[in-house]
């Protein structure tokens, strides 16, 4: 017999929590935690200091840099340590703008970038730069030819993310990169969600700069990377000492640099196996959810997406209330609903792929990781339908739909690839 909502909620108390928000952050690997603990105790020297402790720290830092460079198949001098992915994005974009403003003031990006990129662009617009925001299609993919069409004589930078943090879509960076190369324009790509999950090789991708972040790949928060191709000139973002070849001031976070190297090596060693495993889990999740919950759509591309990302819209209900029940049932997930952010707008990414606001509000993002299991998916496929049903029972939109006075925007059988033409047409 099927368990009821109340039974499942009660039972969940006895179950370990299920963490399904790896796109937000990840639990550092035990080996990484050990590395951090050891180094904090034993290697606290400042790499700039002129004595053994300092030399040892400098050695560790350069070793970490070399190992990371090897993982990306680039030169160690092309790797710069930063404090986070946000800093790397800011540095790449503002640093390029500052260094090349005499050549031109036009920058191209997309409407679905992370706020670290979009808000950097807005800051530049306030300084007089002209930014073109390219639209993506309803699956969240940027057509590379759009970049070519947007290029101008005064374009100095193109910035397109490799993989999206909300809907997981993977962009054709390689093609975009060769278009930029041909035009002699720099390409920056935010690879924060991609690194450790899918192969990332800046040379093959024709990318001149790439941003990465430690805490998305089982390393701690507070460490990021900027890959910058040799010969690419950008201004400093952080003024200070002569660290990082005079390009980024601040005493280096040696411990976390080593932790990041360790985490990245481990992710790459597992990548083939993990990517297959997580893709299988993801697809079972996606098909299971769409089969079990009527009026559900997948957001993003069905296949050109990160192995760990699933993003759904459930019609007639709102995302934050889904998250609250999921939390109560023992799951950590996220949503693009306005109510989960400080603003009143739903996710800019979901709006950019053409979802009407009323559908964007009802979204749920599930992101898996190395600690995700088949059993967790089994539980989720039991609990989520109960939660959605509970919320639909409370929804006046759902009763209007049932009464036949409101159309449904997502068909009952659901969809993996639905383009929604308009909303309910709600106005006064």
């Amino acid at each position: 017999m099927n368990s009821t909502f109340e039974e499942r909620m009660r039972e969940s108390v006895n179950r370990p929590r299920i963490y399904f928000d790896h796109a937000a952050t990840t639990l550092p690997r035990p080996e990484v935690i050990d590395t951090v603990a050891t180094l904090l105790k034993e290697s606290y020297g400042n790499p700039s200091s002129f004595y053994q402790e300092g030399h040892r720290a400098a050695e560790l830092l350069e070793d970490a840099r070399a190992r990371i460079a090897a993982c990306l198949d680039v030169h160690p001098e092309e790797i710069f340590f930063t404090s986070c992915g946000t800093e790397s994005d800011n540095w790449a974009i503002k640093g390029t703008a500052d260094a090349h403003r005499r050549r031109g003031r036009h920058i191209i990006t997309t409407t679905i970038e992370h706020h670290a990129v979009l808000h950097s662009m807005e800051a530049l617009e306030r300084e007089g730069f002209d930014v073109t925001y390219l639209d993506v299609d309803h699956r969240g993919i940027l057509e590379p030819e759009k970049v070519r069409e947007a290029l101008r004589d005064d374009t100095i930078l193109v910035s397109v993310m490799m993989a999206n943090n909300e809907i997981g879509t993977i962009q054709p960076i390689k093609v975009i990169g060769s278009i930029c190369r041909e035009a002699g324009v720099l390409l920056h790509s935010d690879g924060v969600q991609a690194l450790g999950a899918i192969p990332v090789n800046p040379n093959e991708l024709n990318a001149d700069m790439m941003s990465f972040s430690g805490h998305k790949l089982y390393a701690p928060k507070g460490i990021g990377l900027l890959y910058k191709r040799k010969g690419v000139r950008i201004d400093r973002l952080i003024d200070g000492g002569a660290q990082e070849k005079r390009q980024r001031g601040g005493t280096e976070n040696v411990t976390y640099a080593v932790a990041l190297a360790k985490a990245l090596e481990m992710s790459l060693a597992d990548m083939e196996k993990e990517s297959k495993r997580q893709t299988a889990l993801r697809d079972r999740l996606i098909h299971g959810v769409i089969e079990r919950i009527p009026h559900t759509k997948l957001n993003g591309h069905a296949t050109e997406r990160l192995p760990n990302n699933a993003n759904f819209s459930f019609e007639f209900i709102e995302g934050e209330s889904i998250l609250l029940f999921l939390d109560k049932f023992g799951y950590a997930c996220s949503s693009g609903s306005a109510c989960t952010s400080a603003s009143l707008d739903p996710s800019h990414v979901l709006l950019a792929i053409g979802l009407p606001a009323e559908i964007a509000h009802g979204s749920l993002r599930v992101t898996l990781g190395i600690d995700s299991t088949d059993e967790q998916i089994n539980h989720f496929l039991i609990d989520l339908p109960l939660i959605v049903e509970r919320l639909r029972d409370m929804s006046p939109l759902y009763s209007d739909y049932k009464r036949g006075v409101l159309p449904s925007l997502i068909p009952e059988e659901g969809s993996l690839d639905l383009e929604i033409a308009g909303g309910y047409g709600w106005s006064s």
Partner: protein, 153 residues
């Protein structure tokens, strides 16, 4: 952002959720585009609200404030219910996070919307009472929310 235990309780175990088949009046406010919509059914006998039920599409605090509002108005005369403010609803829930105060406005609006059509239909609307409905003209989403269509409801 953290909800009070009372908000979570009213969200998880909403009171008076549903519809009243033979409602005396009902009011719907909000807009799915803004992410919340509330429908309030009232059963009124001899000017007393003998039953209230709600249905809400929205976040946790929208559901909790609807639930609390129904609890607060059942048993009141219609005139007494007009004096139940959004602040009172929020206080009864041990407060709401500042970004969620608009949800309590929505709850007050839903009750008023239902009462407004009741007074008009029954020929009971007086200039004195009409003053109490000013909140219906307002968008619960404050001034900086331009593309919200709820103010012209």
């Amino acid at each position: 952002m953290q909800y009070s235990d009372k908000v979570l309780d009213h969200f998880m175990n909403p009171r008076n959720m549903g519809e009243i088949e033979d409602a005396t009046t009902s009011g719907t406010v909000g807009n799915p585009v803004c992410g919340d919509i509330m429908k309030m059914d009232l059963k009124i006998v001899d000017n007393i609200i003998v039953d209230a039920k709600f249905k809400t599409f929205g976040c946790g605090s929208a559901i909790a404030t609807s639930s609390m509002a129904t609890e607060m108005i059942i048993g009141l005369t219609t005139d007494e219910a007009l004096d139940v403010t959004n602040k009172a609803v929020a206080e009864a829930l041990d407060g709401l996070p500042p970004v969620k105060m608009h949800c309590s406005v929505l709850a007050e609006q839903a009750v008023k919307k239902a009462l407004e059509s009741y007074y008009i239909r029954e020929g009971l609307m007086t200039p004195e009472r009409a003053k109490k409905f000013a909140i219906l003209g307002q968008c619960e989403h404050e001034e900086n929310y331009e593309h919200c269509g709820c103010s012209d409801e």
